[in-house]
């Protein structure tokens, strides 16, 4: 059905995140769609513009102890703690999935969530060699769910610049940096990675948060603090996308609480070139396809010939 709708639409859905070309603007968010095949029993992930793989680290990680999630008003609190198989196992077990996705025109994006600059460098070197089908690297310096690493780099302009510089010199593939959302001046951080040659920015990761159970007087998450995602954070994320786009005009992948086509359109108007669906898939596993269809329908209704035109199209009088 979805396939039909998308084939029939007169809207040009192709977008570009800098040098990364997507057949349509909808991707799945890292960490919410596994390694690309988990939803394959429900729909063909090859229909999407891109799939961001679960965040990888240099070595496998066991992840945080349960509980790993708690519902919040309008949101979801999580702390997976980067449970992943590590880059070496990834190139052995999952590189073929990347190739298969790429063949279908769906860009496989590798999310890297290393704790140190050395790990980032080694990981990219292993992937350059072992996963040629990877379409881009998403450099995740903003995972709130590990004790050290990501967040520390994401909060420090020098460390961030250095990581991007080192990776830039090691790959010609698009480098997209997933910035830390909990900063006072997002534009300054965006300019840092822009100056070092990053091709785009992803906004936002989950936002550091916590839950407490009044009755038991205990934290709701095994790791005490975690990250907040879902509709609750959309207003915060939209502002970050808007400010970053206004100040840098960098290509942006916008996400945070997208559940409908309108949500996604809001991100594009704020300045996003593409959008990603994260925990929206948990209540509706076909959300990415539905969002894509609704975006196409919006464009048809509003007489938008190419969906690219929407990027930054917010009207300010």
């Amino acid at each position: 059905m979805s396939q039909d709708v998308l084939q029939q639409t007169s809207v040009d859905l192709a977008v570009e995140v800098g040098p990364l070309k997507l057949k349509n603007p909808v991707m799945t968010a890292s960490g919410t769609a596994g390694y690309g095949t988990e939803y394959a029993g429900l729909y063909d992930p090859g229909l999407l513009g891109a799939i961001a793989m679960k965040g990888l680290t240099r070595h496998p990680r066991e992840g945080n102890r349960p509980a790993r999630w708690a519902p919040t008003p309008g949101g979801l609190l999580n702390s997976v703690g980067l449970q992943n198989i590590g880059v070496e196992a990834f190139v052995v077990e999952k590189a073929a999935i990347c190739a298969e996705l790429a063949e279908k025109g769906c860009q496989p994006i590798i999310n890297l969530a290393c704790a140190t600059q050395e790990d980032f460098i080694e990981s990219v070197e292993i992937l350059e060699e072992g996963c040629p089908a990877a379409a881009a690297y998403e450099v995740n310096v903003s995972c709130p769910n590990v004790k050290k690493g990501g967040c520390a780099i994401g909060a420090d302009q020098n460390a961030l610049a250095s990581v991007v510089r080192e990776l830039r010199s090691r790959t010609t593939k698009p480098l997209i940096v997933k910035l830390l959302p909990l900063v006072t001046d997002i534009v300054a951080m965006a300019k840092v990675v822009q100056n070092e040659g990053a091709d785009g920015i992803t906004l936002v990761n989950t936002i550091p948060a916590m839950g407490i159970d009044a009755k038991t007087r205990r934290p709701k998450l095994g790791s005490v603090t975690g990250g907040l995602s879902g509709p609750a954070i959309k207003p915060l994320a939209l502002r970050l996308v808007y400010l970053t786009y206004q100040a840098t005009k960098m290509p942006i992948i916008g996400l945070g609480g997208i559940q409908t086509g309108e949500d996604a359109i809001e991100y594009m108007l704020a300045g996003a070139s593409a959008v990603a669906i994260g925990c929206g898939q948990f209540s509706n596993p076909r959300a990415p396809l539905m969002v894509l269809e609704e975006m196409a329908a919006y464009c048809e209704e509003q007489g938008v010939g190419s969906i690219r035109e929407l990027t930054g199209g917010l009207i300010l009088e």
């Binding site: 960490g31 919410t32 769609a33 596994g34 690309g36 095949t37 988990e38 939803y39 394959a40 029993g41 429900l42 729909y43 063909d44 992930p45 090859g46 679960k54 066991e62 992840g63 102890r65 349960p66 509980a67 790993r68 999630w69 519902p71 008003p73 999580n78 997976v80 449970q83 077990e93 073929a96 999935i97 298969e100 996705l101 279908k104 559940q259 925990c279 898939q281 948990f282 209540s283 509706n284 596993p285 076909r286």
Partner: protein
């Protein structure tokens, strides 16, 4: 692993609810009843086995409120699918919509949504052998549901263990087979000594206790582990971890039924 997983492996959709039945309480001290619901499963969905699990939402697709329910019976010709789940907190004035529940506040019109079957269900051993079922508290419903799906000539003993919080446990009424014991854990384990294969369901503390007490036997122990369930239901988000000797497994995709001896309780 390949993208060509058949589209019928998983099924998701809003399903017509054909009938609904309930009995209980299944254990005293808690306001818990068992719900049996029969749905009409469409042709394209794979035929599920008794003991497999579906992810259920009473609020329709996209509501975010889901939990696994066990397959009690599937009638292939009519495609009637009977699932069992338990209802707690029925008397609450304000049912917790942010919690997992399957109760029906007055006037509530369920809008059932199913996804599944999930990874591994309870599967009888290939060779006939003496079978035991060991249930505790509301989560024991999965064994009750499973038992109802068995033919009466299965060589089986089922024990419903008292809930820790109460003096007496009520076994599900009208159970289709005997012997069925309502007892303490000590008595239950004695009762089940003859069994070579035991399925266990109950709260974490109960599973842990059973694991310890039976550490010396060579019985096959299959455990239903279904707490902290949430997230994607297809193995993609890692929000449903269960600790095993090989690290964290996923309740939804690698379970929700595990080898009890491999589980690690922290």
């Amino acid at each position: 692993m390949s993208l060509t997983t058949p589209a019928s492996k998983l099924f998701t959709g809003e399903l017509p609810l054909l009938s609904s039945d309930s009995y209980g309480p299944v254990s005293s001290g808690e306001d818990v009843a068992i719900r049996l619901k029969t749905f009409l499963l469409p042709e394209e969905a794979p035929a599920p086995q008794p003991g497999q699990f579906y992810l259920v939402s009473p609020f329709g697709e996209g509501s975010g409120v889901t939990f696994p329910a066990v397959v009690v019976h599937f009638d292939a010709p009519s495609r009637h699918l009977k699932l069992a789940a338990y209802s707690s907190g029925l008397e609450q004035e304000d049912p917790p919509t942010d919690a997992l529940f399957f109760s029906e506040p007055e006037g509530f019109e369920p809008d059932p949504w199913l996804a599944g079957p999930l990874g591994h269900g309870i599967v009888l051993p290939p060779e006939p052998m003496p079978i035991g079922l060991l249930a505790c508290g509301p989560q024991g419903v999965v064994l009750d549901g499973f038992a109802r799906s068995l033919s009466e000539d299965v060589d089986l003993t089922a024990c419903w263990v008292r809930d820790a919080g109460s003096d007496e446990a009520t076994p599900p009424p009208g159970h289709p087979f005997t012997p069925f014991h309502s007892t303490t854990l000590d008595e239950a384990l004695e009762e089940l000594e003859w069994a070579e294969w035991i399925a266990v369901a109950g709260p974490k503390a109960f599973l842990k206790e059973v694991q310890q007490r039976l550490s010396g036997t060579d019985q096959v122990l299959r455990a239903y582990f279904g707490s902290d369930f949430g997230g994607c239901g297809v193995g993609a988000c890692l929000l449903c971890p269960v600790k095993t000797q090989n690290g964290y497994a996923r309740q939804c995709a690698d379970g929700p039924v595990f080898d009890l001896r491999e589980l690690v309780f922290e």
